[in-house]
Amino acid sequence: MKRSKNILIRFNYRFLSYAFLFLLLSCESFVDIGPPKTQSVSSSVYADDVAALAAMRGVYHEMQKAGFASGQSSSVTVLTGTSSDEFRSFNITLNEFFNNSILSSNQILNSALWSSGYKIIYYCNSVLDGVATSSSVSLAARKQLEGEAKFIRAFTHFYLTNLFGDVPLVVTSDYRVNAVSVRNLQADVYSQIIKDLTEAQALLTNDYQFSGNERVRVNSFAASALLARAYLYTNNWEKAESYATSVINSTALYRIVNDPAGVFLKNSNEAIWQLMPVVTSQNTNEAQYFVPLSVSSLPGFVSLTDNIVNSFEPGDKRKTNWTGNQTVSGTTFYYPFKYKAYRAGSPLTEYSMVLRLAEQYLIRAEARTKQNKFSDAMTDIDIIRTRAGLGSIQVKIPSPSMDNVMTAIEQERNAELFSEWGHRWFDLKRWNRADAVLRPIKIGWSQEDMLYPIPQIELTNNPNLKPQNPGY
């Protein structure tokens, strides 16, 4: 009896020790907590169409929220406009851009232009990787998302190369590859842009049904429109003309809006692609930043230069409709007034225009001019002039030549596309007009200022990006 009890106790101790040791065993599974509840791991993002679409919506949202495509004070629109002859600056943060003396350490240059661009490209690449590796996203959604991601990747590369010259082409989401990337020749960058756009054009649908008939996501015409611009910038006149034509001929979707005041409204007939404002109870960033908040204050950041203001012909409806003015201490300041809904809380009536039909007419006019089709070119210009309430250019230029039609195109692009997306800065550059136009009006101007410097910290973090652009 005693003995058996003894054994029992020993057994108990042994059992307890085992139980204890078992308890102590660190179990891998215990510290495996699974995915977070307020964030999604990438695999789950591409597990179905809805979540994958949300990832794409995230790209548009971030473009509009901040950075080069936002229309804010640090967007391509404002910064290049300040560097060129469009804007006068009122803000110390824009001084380096206004004086064309940008330091490679400039924070805005880095965060708003370079880094924001490559961030959007990374988002696009991760969407492309995500849908490519996912087996549960439907074929239709995959096509759609792939098309959109390729478009935006091309769109972003387009701005990067036009701002910085030779830039790295980033077509993967692998940071180990991207961290050591080299600068590709601008020609190669354009090849990739055109390749992406061509593929996007084939993948995307030719209407806006997929986006609830709102023009806030890109369709195949957006790809054609950007292709027209890319071919124009690379002097491929035939293709520029034909892609512009394909957009212009889609009259079921796109028509010139007769009243200039209606052009920048949301989903206007002229819109090929608009970005939807993302801040609650606020319309476009452009309206917020360009329009002075009260009758007595200076424009917040920039005002239009005399150069722009004086370029309007008498009677141009665009001057009265698309510019505003305010007199402070006896000086009259003009500001871009294409977007009018600047008050917080006003109903959402305007979207930020990225691609619109008028530009396609001007692209085609230029492409046709370069092919010596002056009459066709002037017909295109007249479509724009008619809306502005101006007489036919054909009357003004009875004997057209390459020179005088190009001059007319420059004048028309200024009056039509001012304060939009850096058109002026890029035009000056590709027409080699910068020196002639800017030298007289900019202190310390140098030809090398046409390219912005690569941010210094990028050269430090990735020496493969050296050398710096000349002049910096």
Binding site: L24, S26, E28, D32, I33, P36, A54, R57, V59
Partner: protein
């Protein structure tokens, strides 16, 4: 010993008697205060005369005669003899001694004084359950009682061990023990706080031992090291400690404040004087580059980890970051131990890099039920704040500014000169900060129990108002409960604690200190003729409007834990620590319409944040102790399972059209969420400790931990940490004793080990997507948060320490000095990436290394000890140094403009101030590259340090008869940010200035360090540059502060007896009474001129113990 009663044991009384007894017990427990009456019962004279009666009958007669009950086991006292008793007016003691001795029966009086337990000591066969089982066959049972010499009360849980064997036992709740041993064996009796005693067994079977209490010496101090306890003299590591005694002298809200100035190596500073605001704590410097959250120590409250990071997310509120530690009632704390070196912290593994703060709450004590009531009340007044210009100086400044600028004042740029009454004067400092904060604190505890079961129940209430005008207050209510039980045989014990603290903070949402600088002294009257807030046509911002903006927080904190222990074998215990903590908080920042100028058609808004942090922990442990040779071996093996869940939601509600529904989010016209966060943290570990103490001279302590944390990727979840500590108590060596006569204690110790840090936040290794802030096309988008890096691992902190401890003249002078040398490497920081990757960095381990070294010296000293007078003092001094040893490619990292290799982490890169240009009167700076303009990346080459040279405290206590006086001076030698860095308005603009600006530049040729008064752009830009980028913002911020004074008087017993209390103590306490400093600013501790400085507190209180 329970067996004793349950083996057919019976009470020599009726059932009614039993019930009566229970009720009596209860009454005794709660109300009655009995003195020591044992003597009285035994001294009772009785007369009994009996002849040839049965033994049992004789007992009954004695019971009747003495009015007492005997409790015994019939089996045991089965004595068949006929006995005779003949006592005449003899004491009960004499009677029992004579009557019982022949039968080898011992007796013991129960605490209730109503019964006496009898026990017969006989040789009996050993039970197989008895712990003495492994002994040789011819040993005999020894029994007896272990008592404290002073009180003669039994000591429960005293250790008895047969010298040189593993045979041991512990005493039961009454101090009784039973052990098997052979004649010739030596029994060692030991109990914490008492000197050990050895008794050689001859032939006796009854050995009662009285242990002598260790008088005030180092031995007495038992340090809580977390998973184990250790005598401070046997420590191999470095642990600092304060107890409830020091805490009680300070009227503080937050336990961290009680540490200030009292611990070497621990620097605590108060962020603001706002009640409920946070503290920053640094234990041996800054180990991580990743900012303050990554440098927080680990807090453990009664074994339960406690989160120190605030749940709140509201920006721009009055507080700088309310501390969750406010949810601990300082009065409930028994001791706070801070673990500093590797030897002490390595057992906490991945969480020990920044030190460990152990908070132990009060536990019940056995013995008579004691009630303690402590109430104090007092006032707090404005601390060090800068003095401001009065109206005439102010107007002079403004007019001079316009004159300097060559600009004529207009009603737009100078309403103060042209529109407002220039004869008005409001002393805004006095108006906004000149009030008195009323402090009320009431605490009551009842503790008691018997030797088996002890309890403590405490409740507390604290309330402090503010110095601001308006009805604001901070309130804290708490209930604390503790119950401990040890079984009669001492094998099983349980300790359960539970505390609930609710704190409510009701404050304005702006610190009025910042407002006083924004206001002109001749600003318009606060109210207009009709009694409404006066906005003076929108020309000023009325501070009484801000007063209506409310900031409220309320949190509820529940901590509950259970410690269970069961002795499996002599020396071997199985323990379990189970804990649960949940803290929920609700924060609101409310801007009513009434707070704003009605001319602007304002709307109301509310920012609301809610959240909770819930932690549970389970820690099974095995504890083994035995003697080997001349030494003692302690071993510990344990495991940890822990989960922490943080949950937070923020709401921004805007567009309220009236002020009645501001706390109803549904009434807002627009409602946005922010800061939505849910994260889970799981943690799993095995830890162990081996400690060997050879002959009280040589000590080795090895600790280790294998950790797993959910914060790392699957490949990096587990890692090992460990430390070894060794000490040599050379004062126990004969040759030392003989050669250094004054030396009473001497120890050399050293430790080395590796701890880690996993404080990087949860899920950082995953490439997750988060929802976008806004909608696009009717829905939220998803954007990638970060790049995937499943391979980063722990930050490593190597700690090396050497120390010496010397006691002289019976430890009346005690000196300890330690030197630490810590290097934290494998820094977990964003590894910079070129932006072409889409991100600026990837979370990764960098071979960056930070070194913290330092010297800590503590001298404590009992200078005079006379019968009625003692004076003791102690000084602690810490000299810390910090250096960034390496950081590969720092130029390309986000820290390029913050840190420099070979300098400390406290540097600031600034423009070099060239002072005020004697021609222009403006601040000027060195243009390093001479390009004509200042660049924040190129010209900020001048490195200044904002660092501590040394800090410490001097404590003195005097006691004379019934008076006690204690005071603490805190001193810090440091450089800090002066007023220039926090005052954003240039002197000359429409805002008030500190009086020191009067020393400004006035005319060409003036040499001064204050720029001219100016309200123009050039003046504002020069001032702004100086304030943000100039190196003149850093200057000396050293101070000596009379941090704490406590004076108390205990009433003589003749008075306290009258109200049946044991002790009545009256006291007054002061906090932050005065300061010596040359600091250019408000308070060198906060180093921020626009926040409320720590208040000056004076309280009066009384403590009554029943």
């Amino acid at each position: 010993m329970k067996k004793w009663f349950t083996d057919k044991g019976y009470y020599a009384g009726s059932k009614e008697y039993l019930i009566f007894r229970k009720i009596t017990m209860l009454i005794v427990f709660i109300f009655v205060i009995y003195g020591n009456m044992n003597a009285q019962l035994l001294d009772k004279k009785i007369t009994v005369k009996l002849t040839n009666v049965s033994f049992q009958d004789a007992l009954k007669e004695i019971e009747n005669a003495a009015k007492v009950r005997f409790v015994y086991s019939e089996d045991q006292l089965n004595i068949k003899d006929k006995v005779s008793v003949d006592v005449n007016d003899k004491t009960l003691k004499e009677t029992l001694d004579t009557f019982l001795k022949p039968y080898n029966i011992s007796y013991r009086i129960h605490e209730n004084e109503l019964s006496i337990t009898l026990r017969r000591h006989v040789q009996k066969s050993r039970s197989i359950l008895d712990p003495g089982i492994n002994n040789l066959t011819d040993d005999s049972q020894i029994e007896g009682k272990v008592t404290a010499s002073k009180t003669q009360e039994g000591l429960a849980g005293a250790n008895i061990i047969v010298k040189g064997s593993i045979n041991g036992t512990t005493t039961d709740s009454d101090g009784m023990y039973r052990i098997f041993a052979r004649p010739g064996d030596v029994l060692i009796f030991s109990f914490i706080g008492f000197t050990q005693s050895e008794v050689v067994i001859n032939n006796q079977t009854l050995i009662d031992v009285s242990l002598v209490e260790d008088v005030k010496s180092l031995d007495e101090v038992v340090i809580n090291a977390g998973y184990y306890q250790i005598d401070s003299k046997d420590q191999t590591g470095n642990i600092s400690r304060i107890t409830s005694k020091e805490i009680a002298t300070q009227p503080v809200i937050n336990p961290l404040q009680a540490l200030q100035g009292r611990m070497a190596g621990v620097h605590v500073s108060q962020l603001t004087g706002i009640p409920g605001d946070g503290f920053s704590i640094q234990i041996r410097g800054v180990n991580s580059i990743r900012g303050s959250a990554a440098n927080e120590p680990l807090y453990i409250i009664d074994g339960v980890p406690f989160s120190s990071t605030t749940l709140f997310a509201v920006g721009g509120s009055i507080t700088k970051g309310p501390s969750p530690l406010n949810s601990i009632n300082p009065s409930d704390i028994e001791s706070i131990e801070v673990l500093k070196d590797a030897d002490a912290t390595a057992i906490y593994g991945s969480r020990g890099a920044n030190g460990v703060v152990l908070i132990t709450t009060k536990k019940g004590k056995g013995g008579k039920t004691q009630a303690d009531i402590n109430v104090y009340t007092g006032i707090g007044t404005m601390g060090n704040q800068m003095s401001l210009l009065n109206t005439s100086n102010y107007l002079q400044m403004r007019r001079e500014a316009f004159r300097n600028d060559g600009v004529a004042p207009t009603i737009a740029n100078a309403p103060d000169l042209l529109l407002w009454d220039t004869t008005r004067y409001t002393d805004w400092r006095k108006t906004l900060l000149g009030g008195s904060a009323h402090i009320t604190n009431a605490q009551a505890t009842i503790s008691g129990g018997n030797s088996n079961t002890q309890f403590l129940v405490g409740a507390g209430f604290f309330r402090q108002t503010t110095v601001f005008p308006g009805d604001y207050n901070y309130q804290k209510g708490s209930v604390h409960f503790n119950l401990s039980h040890t079984t009669e045989n001492g094998k099983f014990s349980a300790n359960v604690s539970n505390s609930i603290v609710i704190d409510n903070n009701n404050l304005p949402s702006v610190d009025f200190t910042s407002l006083m600088f924004n206001l002109a002294p001749n600003s318009p009257s606060v109210y207009d003729a009709t009694g409404n807030l006066n906005w003076e046509n929108g020309t000023w911002s009325n501070p009484y409007g801000d007063m209506k903006r409310r900031y409220t927080t309320s949190s509820k904190n529940l901590i509950t834990n259970a410690n269970l222990s069961y002795q499996l074998l002599p020396g071997l215990k199985l323990k379990g620590n189970l804990g649960y903590n949940t803290i929920t908080s609700d924060e609101k920042n409310i801007v009513p319409i009434a707070a704003q100028n009605p001319a602007n058609n304002p709307l109301g808004s509310t920012i609301s944040t809610r959240g909770s942090i819930t932690t549970w922990i389970a820690e099974p442990q095995l504890d083994y102790e035995r003697s080997i040779g001349k030494g003692k071996l302690n071993m510990l093996l344990g495991g940890t399972f822990q989960q922490t869940v943080r949950d937070r939601q923020g709401f921004f509600a805007f567009g309220y059209i009236n002020d009645t529904q501001l706390e109803n989010l549904a009434a807002a016209s627009s409602l946005n969420t922010f800061g939505i966060d849910y994260s889970e943290y799981k943690y799993n570990a095995i830890f162990g400790r081996v400690n060997y103490n050879w002959d009280g001279k040589y000590l080795v302590n090895i600790t280790g931990r294998r950790d797993g944390s959910s914060r790392f990727g699957p490949n990096k979840r587990f890692a090992n940490f460990g430390a070894i500590g060794a000490a040599w108590i050379f004062s126990n060596e004969l040759f030392v004793k003989n050669f250094i006569p004054g030396l009473s204690f001497g120890k050399l110790r050293t430790s080395y080990g590796v701890t880690g840090s996993d404080q990087i936040g949860d899920y950082q290794y995953l490439d997750t997507y988060s929802p976008t802030t806004g909608n696009y096309q009717g829905g939220k988008g998803l954007i990638p948060n970060r790049l995937l890096n499943p391979d980063f691992g722990w930050e490593e902190n190597q700690k090396l320490e050497a120390g010496i401890e010397l006691g002289f003249f019976n430890d009346r002078l005690f000196i300890s000095a330690s030197y630490y040398h810590n290097r934290s490497s494998n820094q977990l920081v964003g590894y910079s990436l070129p932006a072409t990757t889409g991100f600026s960095s990837i979370q990764s381990n960098l071979p960056a290394t930070i070194q913290n070294t330092g010297l800590e010296i503590v001298v404590s000293n009992v200078t005079i000890r006379r019968k009625s007078f003692t004076w003791s003092s102690s000084i602690n001094l810490t000299i810390p140094r910090n250096r960034l040893i390496s950081y590969p490619n720092i130029e390309g990292s986000p820290y390029a403009n913050t840190y420099t290799v070979d300098k400390s982490l406290f540097i600031q890169k600034k423009y070099r101030s060239l002072g005020v240009n004697s021609q222009t009167g403006l601040y000027t700076f060195e243009d390093v590259d001479n390009n004509g303009s200042l660049s924040s990346t190129i010209d900020t080459q001048f490195i200044k340090e904002k660092a501590i040279d040394f800090f410490g405290g001097i404590q003195n206590s005097f006691s004379w008869q019934r008076f006690e006086l204690q005071f603490l001076f805190q001193f810090v030698k440091q450089t800090g940010q002066n007023y220039l860095s926090t005052l954003i308005n240039a002197p000359g603009t429409l805002a008030n200035q500190p009086t020191l600006v009067l020393n400004r530049w006035q005319r060409i040729g003036d040499i001064t360090d204050i720029q001219k008064f100016s309200q123009s752009n050039s003046g504002i830009i020069a001032y702004g540059t100086a304030s943000v980028f100039g190196d003149a913002v850093i200057s000396d911020a050293s101070y000596v502060r009379l941090q704490n004074v406590s004076f108390s008087y205990s009433l003589p017993l003749s008075i306290s007896d009258k109200i049946r209390s044991e002790k009545i103590r009256l006291y007054c306490q002061g906090q932050n009474l005065f300061m010596f400093t040359d600091f250019a600013g408000a308070d060198p501790e906060t180093q921020n001129a626009v926040v409320l400085s720590p208040l000056r507190l004076l309280t009066f209180g009384a403590q009554i113990t029943f």
